[in-house]
């Protein structure tokens, strides 16, 4: 019958209205919580929660309480920051050489450490100018010692251009949440979460698997 399609459309929107779980809005950076939800989070009943902390319950009732909310993030997601392990870095400056934009600046001096196992230099300057970076990840691919990783954070908005230059001190001090992009050894590791509270230490981050002699022969000699 002509016009039945209009009624069908009305039914679809009514279904959306009745079923709240069809909502696809994702809230960021925080979302409002109701007292019921707060009580569920703290593991007590609603009335117990309201009696114990009436101030929070009132705030939640008037829509003032928020909890942080964010999208679920894949561990291989490349953020807009870098994670760097100074224990691994020898100061070879491969990253600076491979950077197509030339935005990594490295100044090193002899450190006298680990002279037997190959040279290790002391890093005086290690600046990455994120303002001009295109996040191609070539520096990470180039790093022979798995010291540089892509990070998984992305909230890097700044007010001044000079704040966008990431210095050694910042690389050393910031929390280490490496992305598993090009570092498959972290992927699938027990308990690894890109936004977990725990840092990933340099031992945990691990080395990539060295190709075996057999593998190399198969790959290169067979041609």
């Amino acid at each position: 019958m002509y016009g039945a399609g209009m009624a069908k459309g009305l039914l679809v929107t009514m279904k959306n209205f009745v079923k709240p779980d069809r909502m696809f809005t994702v809230q960021y950076p925080d979302r409002k919580v109701s007292p019921t939800e707060l009580a569920k989070m703290s593991g007590v009943g609603v009335f117990t929660f309201m009696r114990k902390n009436p101030k929070t319950a009132f705030k939640a009732m008037t829509g003032q309480m928020t909890v942080p909310a964010r999208l679920k993030q894949h561990p291989r997601f490349r953020g807009e920051e870098f994670t760097w392990y100074e224990q691994r870095c020898t100061g070879c400056a491969s990253c600076a050489k491979y950077c197509p934009l030339g935005i990594i600046r490295i100044v090193t001096s002899p450190s006298g450490e680990q002279v037997q196992e190959g040279q290790k230099y002391h890093l005086d300057v290690f600046d990455i100018d994120i303002g001009r970076c295109m996040f191609c990840g070539l520096c990470v691919e180039a790093c022979p010692y798995d010291a540089l990783h892509m990070g998984s954070g992305f909230e890097e908005g700044k007010y001044r251009r000079k704040d966008l230059v990431v210095t050694v001190d910042r690389l050393k001090s910031q929390p280490k949440h490496p992305s598993t992009w090009f570092r498959p050894q972290i992927q699938g590791k027990e308990g690894y979460h890109p936004h977990g509270e725990k840092d990933v230490t340099w031992q945990e981050a691990g080395r990539h698997e060295q190709p075996s002699r057999k593998h190399q022969e198969e790959k290169w000699a067979k041609r």
Binding site: G3, G9, T13, N16, F17, M23, F24, T25, M61, G63
Partner: protein
């Protein structure tokens, strides 16, 4: 919602009597003036506040209908959103484009809003709550609601903008077309209630006219939702084609006035529908009439909102076709049917219609409506089947022929 300021017995005569008692005999006109101002102030404020609440409600419900959240950042459930909106509107710069007709440009939003307020003066909220018991109320409603066509044209013409002009011209064409079926549907109501006053329409409405003449109800709701230019019929301000139509050049409080009028329109339309077709404040049980009225208006409001959330915008030619080929003949048929039934059924001496007459009319009209709907749907469906199949382009199979 609408009745908060107008409590039971809070009518013009009561206030006038109060001030008349305070003042000497020679100052009657002043008491009259003060009483009128007080009541107008109360009604306008109640209407503006309810519109503000309605903007929140509409955006929230639209969100739910379209499976997203509505405004939710300000206050509990986003309830303070209207206040944030007003603050933003007030702090915006008030711009007038170069070469615009300044006076007309300023006047247009005021005219647009004023018509809405004027209509609300005629809505009886309860058996005792009315601002004006005008004896030509229905004619007044038709006349005043067509003034907003003028306001839209003023806005579009004065802002010297091609898109605003397009929107205004489309609007004028559409609104004038939909005036006709709307007026004819109201004429059927006037016939059946034997009165032109909104107050008497309700008192004579023992059986809701929605049941007595469903065709008129359908025509009125369709035409009225076109008159307020909301989503199935919003080609006046179709955002994807015309910027935003006639109010492209408006900003600040002038734009806020347009928004106010636009969001006030559904409230007014639902009040008119409740008065004309759902027997106004009449109800059963101990619940007061005002509550009945507001409940009925709310139901209509929600239904209009549901339609708005669901149906997409029609094209210009489709809208005109719907008005002139669909609603106009239907409204003529409805008027003819109602007039004939009244001529046959009414008391030959007094001309009065009893309840049983009304129910008989209802039965006949429902039958007519069913037949008409089936016939129209078959007609349209056949038209759709007869549409020629698209011919493939001669360029499409050039390679295949060669092989």
């Amino acid at each position: 919602m609408e009745g908060q300021a107008v409590k039971a017995g809070f009518d013009f005569l009561g206030i006038y009597g109060f001030f008349d008692g305070l003042m000497p005999e020679s100052l009657d006109w002043l008491a009259f003036l003060v009483a009128g101002f007080i009541l107008a102030f109360a009604i306008i404020n109640a209407l503006v506040v309810s519109t503000a609440v309605y903007t929140w409600f509409e955006r929230r419900a639209l969100g739910k209908f379209q499976s997203r959240l509505g405004p939710n950042r300000w206050g509990p459930f986003g309830l303070l959103q209207p206040i944030a909106d007003v603050v933003k509107f007030m702090s915006k710069e008030d711009t007038v484009p170069d070469g615009a007709d300044r006076q007309v440009f300023t006047l247009a939003p005021i005219v647009f809003v004023a018509t809405g307020f004027l209509v609300f003066a005629l809505i009886p909220l309860g058996s005792n709550d009315w601002l004006s018991r005008l004896n030509i109320g229905l004619v007044f409603i038709i006349a005043v609601t067509s003034v907003n066509t003028l306001a839209i044209f003023m806005a579009g013409w004065s802002s010297r903008n091609k898109y605003a002009m397009f929107g205004a011209m489309r609007g004028v064409a559409m609104l004038i077309s939909y005036e006709v079926p709307m007026a004819l549907a109201i004429a059927a109501v006037a016939l059946a209630s034997q009165s032109l006053s909104t107050y008497t329409v309700v008192t004579n409405q023992e059986v809701p006219f929605m049941l007595v003449m469903p065709l008129a109800f359908f025509i009125f709701v369709a035409a009225a939702s076109a008159e307020m230019s909301r989503t199935p019929f919003d080609l006046i301000e179709s955002e994807s084609e015309l910027g935003s139509g006639y109010h492209t050049e408006y900003s600040g409080m002038k734009f806020a006035l347009f928004q106010l009028a636009e969001f006030m329109a559904p409230i007014i339309v639902s009040c008119i529908v409740a008065t004309l077709f759902l027997s106004g404040w009449r109800g059963w049980g101990p619940i007061p009439g005002q509550v009945w009225f507001i409940l009925k208006a709310l139901v209509v409001l929600c239904a209009l909102l549901w339609f708005r959330a669901t149906w997409p915008r029609l094209r210009v030619d489709q809208i005109m076709e719907f008005a002139w080929k669909g609603l106009f003949p239907l409204s003529l048929l409805n008027l003819f049917a109602v007039a004939t039934e009244i001529q046959l059924l009414r008391d030959p001496v007094t001309g009065a219609l009893t309840d049983s007459d009304m129910w008989a009319m209802a039965a006949i009209n429902w039958a007519i409506t069913g037949i008409v709907f089936l016939a129209v749907s078959r007609m349209f469906a056949r038209k759709q089947l007869q549409r020629p199949l698209p011919k493939p382009s001669p360029l499409a199979n050039m390679g295949a022929e060669a092989e």
